[in-house]
Symmetry: C2
Subunit: 411 residues, 2 copies
Amino acid sequence: MARFLKVKTADDVLSMLKSIRPLPPERISITSACGRRLASDIFASEPVPHFARATMDGYAVRARDTFGASESLPALLEIAGEVGMGEAPMMAVAPGKAVAVPTGAMLPEGSDSVVMVEYTLAVDNTTIEVTRPVAPGENVLKVGDDIAPGASPLRKCAVLRPQDIGVLAALGIVEVEVFSAPRVALFSTGDEIVPIETRPLPPGKVRDINRFSLAAQIESTGALIGLRDTVSDSLEDLVSACLEALRDHDVIVLSGGSSVGARDYTTQVLACLPESELLVHGVAIRPGKPTIFGRAGRVLFWGLPGQPVSALITCQAFVLPSLRNLLGMTEDEPAPAVRAVLNRQLPSVHGRTDYVPVSLSSGTGGAKEASPIFGKSGAISILVRADGYVVVPEHVEGLAMGTEVSVFPFR
Amino acid sequence: MARFLKVKTADDVLSMLKSIRPLPPERISITSACGRRLASDIFASEPVPHFARATMDGYAVRARDTFGASESLPALLEIAGEVGMGEAPMMAVAPGKAVAVPTGAMLPEGSDSVVMVEYTLAVDNTTIEVTRPVAPGENVLKVGDDIAPGASPLRKCAVLRPQDIGVLAALGIVEVEVFSAPRVALFSTGDEIVPIETRPLPPGKVRDINRFSLAAQIESTGALIGLRDTVSDSLEDLVSACLEALRDHDVIVLSGGSSVGARDYTTQVLACLPESELLVHGVAIRPGKPTIFGRAGRVLFWGLPGQPVSALITCQAFVLPSLRNLLGMTEDEPAPAVRAVLNRQLPSVHGRTDYVPVSLSSGTGGAKEASPIFGKSGAISILVRADGYVVVPEHVEGLAMGTEVSVFPFR
């Protein structure tokens, strides 16, 4: 019975996962960095913009030349030329002069503001009337107004969004350091498993669902699937597949073969790997009790139940948080839970955490309603009808109808 | 002034986009189908499971043989063998017999239920005591209990999630029809634009931010970036780039060159393309007024402002909805807006829709608070500090502090 010594609660397991450190950073092009997480602060080595830019179409002027101007008493300024987009101005703005500038153009030396074209009137080809005063700096983005040199517009651990990629481009940063995406080896095993294209299915056999459903879940975090195989239910084959995976993967996920009563190879496989350690042998949850967690050196090792519903729920509840930690995410950042009201009672058992699939609908008064989806154990169609799951914690004996709950969305 | 005839409101443009039909479907492997949208209903050509499966470890029995069994008066059954995982049973269950089955194994002929091993006691190697009765069908997933033959577990337009991929695998479906991902050609132009690796930046020049930030936005919808170039601000070069794009793209996005006052090539470029039609020339919004929308045959054509903040906001507000329509999504499905309370007044102008970047924080009493981020026009760092934007509709003159607003999240 030594195997039961390591049965943990769901909270125990989640606490253990908190100690997982991010993988070493890698440098990637900003063209593929959206959605990735910065592994270091970004500093501006130069100001943005690096020249004073007009933010309106109009005339670059010395603000003081417009002071007191009005419709009835306009300021008269002489046009000293114009600056095109992307040009370095060939002239300066002397007192009493104005230079035409489109939005985005560089202000000439001597000017400190832009009068919008709407507040000017051309008297002739060389003179304009200005009918409103401008303040110094008005309608101008000055040097460093957007990003000052030395500033840090993006910090370590930020998840890069399109506008953040834009800031990197603005600073001339072509590559960034992000936390590496974990490489995951996904193996499914079991005497009952056959390739999904098998048709007709022999009696007693089922298609290898987990190889596809778990891969999709794992990839949804940004992790990469490396090896992905159906392995025969033999200790030798399983160990040899895992040894190959250890060479260039960060995580091994093995589904099947860990159910009490069936052959229990998963812990034996782990024991055969170098520097291995069994950390969790069974979790007090339903579904998913036979979940196994350990390490082989720096590689995380998960043994999930072979049953597809249990595998999907334990993968979402435990494997995905471990991948997010490797990616440098803190665990308060997964998909935000949706608050909803249970529309019927959820029975449970003290000492066990239950994961109950629910569908969401708009209830009376605008609050969301969570309807538990019951069905026969192991029916994957239940998860297809579900929008997420509710966790019934270990220290309660079920939740009453009307309880406000957090629904963790499937996606 | 003919050009101003086609200035539209934001709502006009969004209404026009509703008529965009999804692209023709494509067949892809289920290994890359997660997140994609089904273009046809999925039907089950066979039952899942296709044999009666035990959902618990125990003994397959005839339920009637256990009726009335109790701890004090157990039913005695003779062990007639066992069924391994993935095996077709070699024996039947005759009256008074039991066959050992692990979870997931196939029930032998004659049995209709499984007694959990917890409610049995081995008397000797050939006999068990059953201490609780089972009902017919108990602890058994019968043929078709999960998915009945002919049922449609997944419908056209469903976005495939990991468990849906699992159902496809369970049904032996290796490829599915999904709506094709739009191929987008992204061009930026403007005399002021230089490649982002340019260092030091010449006076008056800016780096080509849009080529990176808009690409990241576009890819976030599932659309693909095909061509992606900085094109010199010449009509000939722009037309030739667009003609090349027409060959195998579904959408052309051209940023820059559409600001009033600068050279306005965008509408001329569109006019030079075969079967082209200008549908929108300017939108009554801030920022982003010079936004252009048209078609060249079946290809959508967007002209966005060159200014990076305006480009990002108009892309999110208009281009992304058009891409989602091509992907078969209905427009009530983009990222859900977050409800929040404005923590200061937002001035605006009647007749113009304003997009105002805001940051979100937890206000008093648990409600979210939206703080408008003000800053100089065109500063991209504003968007980096923002969590989303608030839309101030055209028919109001600003929003009062304390107004409940929808915040459209940036991601």
